[in-house]
Amino acid sequence: MRNRTFAPSRILIYLIVSLIAAAWLAPLAVVVLNSLRTNEEIAQGSMIGWPQHLAWSNYAAAWSGFCVAETCAGIRPYMLNSALVTIPATIFSTLLGAIAGYAVSLWRFRGDSWIYGIVTLGIFLPQQMRLLPWTIVLRDTGLMNTLTGLVVIHTIQGLSFTTLFCRNYYVAIPQELIRAARIDGAGFFRIFWRIILPLSPPILVVTVIWQFTHIWNEFLYGVTFTTGQQQPVTAALIALSAAVADIPQHGVQSAAVMIAALPTLLIYLIGGKYFVRGLTAGAVK
């Protein structure tokens, strides 16, 4: 390329891209800056501004101080709830999805393509169609308003995605490999353990990141099936902004938003490549 750095058209391209990138970063920057400004400072000006001095105390207050609906323990219990739902549900749905994906792609059994087809329909079925049945099932099993209930829901529903991801990855494994192992006398579990699992790290990382992000960020089930102290952090954030509507505490609220968004943002920063692979894998089947 000649004059690569000086051609006016290239300068224009960089200018446009940088402007859009700045716009995309602005909301994050605003929250980060606000989380370090005092409530009074924000109240005097706008939510867009530079901190006069860094108010780290916002984070302490957001984590364990402020009150949501008459309990003053900050965002900590809700973060813990989210973790206690997200981590087990991610592990279960990924593991079961890997086994199911392996079964339908390589083990093959009668009716496998039918049941696989139905399972993947779960990707499209709106949550609203499942709200009432889950309500009834949770009530009758005594799991209403429990974290276990949410783990069960996210595990079963997550199977649609995890099975799809793993199946699409495993179909590339040559069938002969499985056949040879079976002739040698290896069974379903041994083949999974010895052959499939060692080949799986790339797809398992994609699946884990996908599931973690989605379950952590989920809101509708959290707000419908849990109340008060049992709610995940997404539901608690909404409750918080309703609770402080009279006397806004935007500094502390910004810190709470940052804390709530941090786990998935960190995972994105570390495993962005795999996150994007999950996005496109879900789209191009």
Binding site: R10, W134, Q157, S160, L237, V276, T280
Partner: protein, 291 residues
Amino acid sequence: MVRRLPEYLTIWVPLLLSAAHLIAFTLWTIWISFTPSTLVPISGWVGLRNYSAVAASRNWQIALDNLLLFGSAFVLLSLATGLILAILLDQRIRGENVLRSIFLYPLAVSFVVTGTVWSWLLNPGLGIQKLVHDLGWTSFRFDWLIDRDMAIWTIVIAAIWQSSGFAMALFLAGLRSVDADLIKAAQIDGAGPIRMYRRVILPTLWPITVTVIVIQLQFAISTFDLVRALTNGGPGIATQLPALVVYDLMFQRSLLGRGAAAAVLMLLLLLAVLLPYAGWRYVQRRRAIHA
């Protein structure tokens, strides 16, 4: 047989649980939509009465109007933004990875967080309008959040910010897989960059475009969290959307039958998008096999 029982159980239990809950829950919700259930599900048959009640309600009509406006504006604008970003990033620019990460990071954040943050930025007393006023331009107005006619556009803005990166990622993958010979042949024919995009490259992207449209429409139809956090359906019911109507009927007004009917209507909206797409995919695949 008994020895292989653990194997059968491991294969079938998760798959059956998943498939059975999908079928059973769908039928269950459809059944409730034909019953006179209010506070609790009860048996009985009211025919299409729940459907006509939902369809006749102002809430639902506004939700549908909003969905039409929000859906088309959001899909078109995020498509355009994604395509422009993809083309710009495809110009062998420096820092492509960093830029791509910047455009995609909103997808890692929950809609609750996105909605909350944008509700601050767009709040005229707190956000952009306040900033511009403080800077001295006091007649500046940007108060869509509290303007009944414009409030739906705040959701469009936040949704574009959140998911244009997704369109960009898919388009970029498409641009990168355009046949190099095709480009070379066009270059030999003396095609300039604009002609090249219009005549050679963009036409190869249309299958991706269809996929992006369908996925974004699917997102638009089931939008809930974002509105809940950004406007909560307000001011008044100006930013009502179908998913909010469903929630309102089921859990705030305890009209389970009507709530179920609204959920089924949502499913039908979704099918109106997905079925033609599935058919199109089927034909495409057929052609690919026979070609």
